[in-house]
């Protein structure tokens, strides 16, 4: 508001106030730039979370996101899903799987913390307790490994 008062004064003839107005304008632009850069960086990190963590974010992270960011995340998820569906034939291709080239279908994993029950394709449920080791199909565990629940063991 102070800037506007000065603008009206300047228009009425005191030309030496132009510097002050320009100075305040620079400060306003600077604040705007810092805010925009901060918000944009947050968006970039949220986007990275979709790729690295999966499509459901833990509640601790969601707690720290604003409503618009949650909305943006859902829209991004939807666009990504539409794109993935259109890419690989009739079922679509999950681009977030197999980030590193797979060597085998089944992998050895060790559980790092208690997760509970986990069901695999042929119907058997496995109880994931801390330090238990299992031999599981790769595509089921990849997401859990990336989330830090399981640990991939190389033989």
């Amino acid at each position: 508001e102070r800037n506007q008062a000065d603008v009206s004064e300047a228009k009425s003839g005191r030309t030496d106030l132009i510097f002050l107005i320009r100075f305040r304008h620079c400060c306003l632009l600077r604040n705007q730039r810092c805010l925009l850069a901060y918000l944009y960086d947050r968006l970039l990190r949220i986007r990275a979370l979709r790729w690295e963590y999966g499509s459901v974010l833990p509640s601790t992270i969601q707690f720290h996101m604003s409503a618009e960011e949650v909305e943006w995340f859902n829209q991004y998820k939807k666009s990504l899903a539409t794109y993935m569906r259109s890419v690989g034939g009739e079922e679509g291709l999950d681009l977030t799987q197999d980030i590193k080239p797979p060597k085998s279908l089944y992998i050895e994993v060790r559980c790092l913390r208690d997760y509970g029950e986990f069901e695999i394709d042929d119907g058997t449920t496995i109880l994931l307790k801390k330090n238990s080791q299992h031999f599981l199909p790769r595509w089921k565990c990849e997401q859990l490994i990336r989330q830090g629940v399981l640990e991939h063991i190389l033989s």
């Binding site: 002050l20 320009r22 790729w51 707690f63 990336r146 991939h152």
Partner: protein, 212 residues
């Protein structure tokens, strides 16, 4: 090893990237300058060195951040005139041309290259020499950075990195990352699915109490 988070890089040459966090930090660095004409009512902002009255008298010396200098400077130069900071002046230029690799660039202002490129925006008769000096410094230091980043595996690199400015540190980190990825591949760990670093960082931080 693949990361999904790609922050905005700094701009190249005379332009900065608006959204780049590195450029914002870099443009916060201060420049010496002089007020070309009396500046009314600005004394509160530009510091105690600017005089006790309400307005800054003509010709007084100021230290202003780069973003403010760029905003207040125009080709008619009615408001502010900018001087070069010490490291871009004649004396230091000869030091750089003698041997650039011994200079501690981090102490001289951690954004030597970026800030120097932005200085070329202001009209100054020494601009071509400044540009040449920055370029030559980079060329002579680059070989050392490349060698040290590619050969320091699993060591404490703080002694190597202490004398580099921000641009060089980014290069060093890229070199280290390449080296680590290669070693990982050699050991056969490249196919191991790992926890992403973002997730690991979230796990380590303690979140504020959600009930509060």
């Amino acid at each position: 090893m693949c990361e999904a988070y790609f922050p905005v890089d700094s701009g190249l040459g005379l332009e900065e990237n608006f959204l780049s966090l590195d450029d914002i930090l870099m443009s916060q660095e201060k420049l010496p300058g002089r007020a070309e004409s009396a500046l009314p009512r600005l004394a509160f902002a530009l510091g105690p060195a600017a005089g006790t009255g309400d307005s800054i008298p003509e010709g007084s010396k100021l230290e202003i951040p780069l973003w403010l200098a760029k905003g207040l400077h125009d080709s008619k130069r009615r408001i502010i005139s900018v001087e070069l900071p010490k490291i871009y002046k004649e004396a230091w230029r000869t030091v750089f041309s003698a041997d650039a690799s011994v200079v501690d660039l981090h102490k001289m202002g951690p954004y030597y290259y970026g800030f120097g490129s932005q200085l070329l925006n202001f009209d100054n008769p020494e601009n071509p020499e400044i540009a040449q000096t920055i370029l030559q410094t980079f060329i002579s230091r680059f070989r050392g950075i490349m060698d040290s980043s590619q050969n320091a595996y699993n060591e404490d690199t703080s002694a190597l990195v202490a004398r580099l400015d921000e641009l060089e540190r980014a290069l060093f980190r890229a070199g280290q990352k390449g080296l680590n990825d290669f070693q990982c591949w050699e050991k056969g760990q490249a196919s191991q699915i790992t926890v992403s670093s973002l997730v690991q960082n979230y796990g380590k931080r303690k979140f504020a109490d959600m009930d509060g």
